[in-house]
Assembly symmetry: C2
Homo-oligomer: 149 residues x 2
């Protein structure tokens, strides 16, 4: 972590809430000239503070209405821990977290149907040689809220 100035924080807040905000608007909102904001954003990107920009898509609308969390527990405790790499080819997996607790990893997956979930579970068990515990998401009151920079 590198310390962030208030101006940089303000820029990050705006970009987290509206990733396509123009530099002109950004400059106005944070009270700086366009070129100064431009320079700061470039630096935040280069330092890796901003990792990228993404459109947020509606799961239902894109035909992937079913989200689930899948906890992974290794079957063979002596096996090397390369689960993320073994699973990254599965596009249904949106996120992979290494966690403290009963499980070793938690995955967040997004699929079209219960059948598709069953299939991806089969693929996960096969590719990573793990046992799984699945928590199905019924609805998402909120998601992707901007972090409190």
């Amino acid at each position: 972590m590198t310390n962030l100035e208030p101006t940089d924080r303000a820029i990050l807040r705006e970009l987290a809430a509206d990733g396509r905000c123009s530099f002109t608007d950004l400059a106005e909102r944070v009270g700086l000239s366009v070129s100064a904001v431009h320079q700061r954003v470039r630096r935040l990107e280069q330092r890796g503070v901003v990792k990228g920009y993404a459109a947020r898509l509606d799961g239902d609308e894109i035909g992937l209405p079913l989200t689930a969390f899948i906890s992974l527990t290794p079957i063979d405790p002596a096996a090397p821990d390369d689960y993320p790499r073994r699973l990254e080819h599965l596009p249904q997996i949106e996120a992979c977290y290494s966690v403290a607790g009963d499980a070793s990893y938690v995955l967040r997956v997004r699929v079209a149907s219960p059948t598709a979930l069953e299939e991806v579970l089969r693929q996960i068990r096969e590719a990573a040689h793990v046992s799984t515990r699945t928590t199905v998401v019924l609805s998402t009151p909120y998601e992707d809220r901007p972090p409190a920079v």
Copy 2:
């Protein structure tokens, strides 16, 4: 869900991977004129397929290096289910999922330190009158991968 044309899918893939991509680049990548792409993106936004755009920030760099999943279980089973509303004022909560399984909800929180996690757990229990079960994230091999549109 509304059916998506291949062209719209291609546009969504590009915008999910690079939310600040210019219309000019988009047009080139999906093989359409700038104005046609522009029109399609506008429609995808209006239909709610694209819910918005966001900068992806690095948790460590913004001073919030600790992520955790918190499962919520109501203490009083007869209490009305308004937990998301009771918790939305806490900015540390990035996502709230209603789930099937042992717990009623799963939250994803991002905080500065173990002490800050302790404090947000206290606030959650107080605001929602729930018991909590916390899974601390040790590392994040990947996150926010673009969905397989």
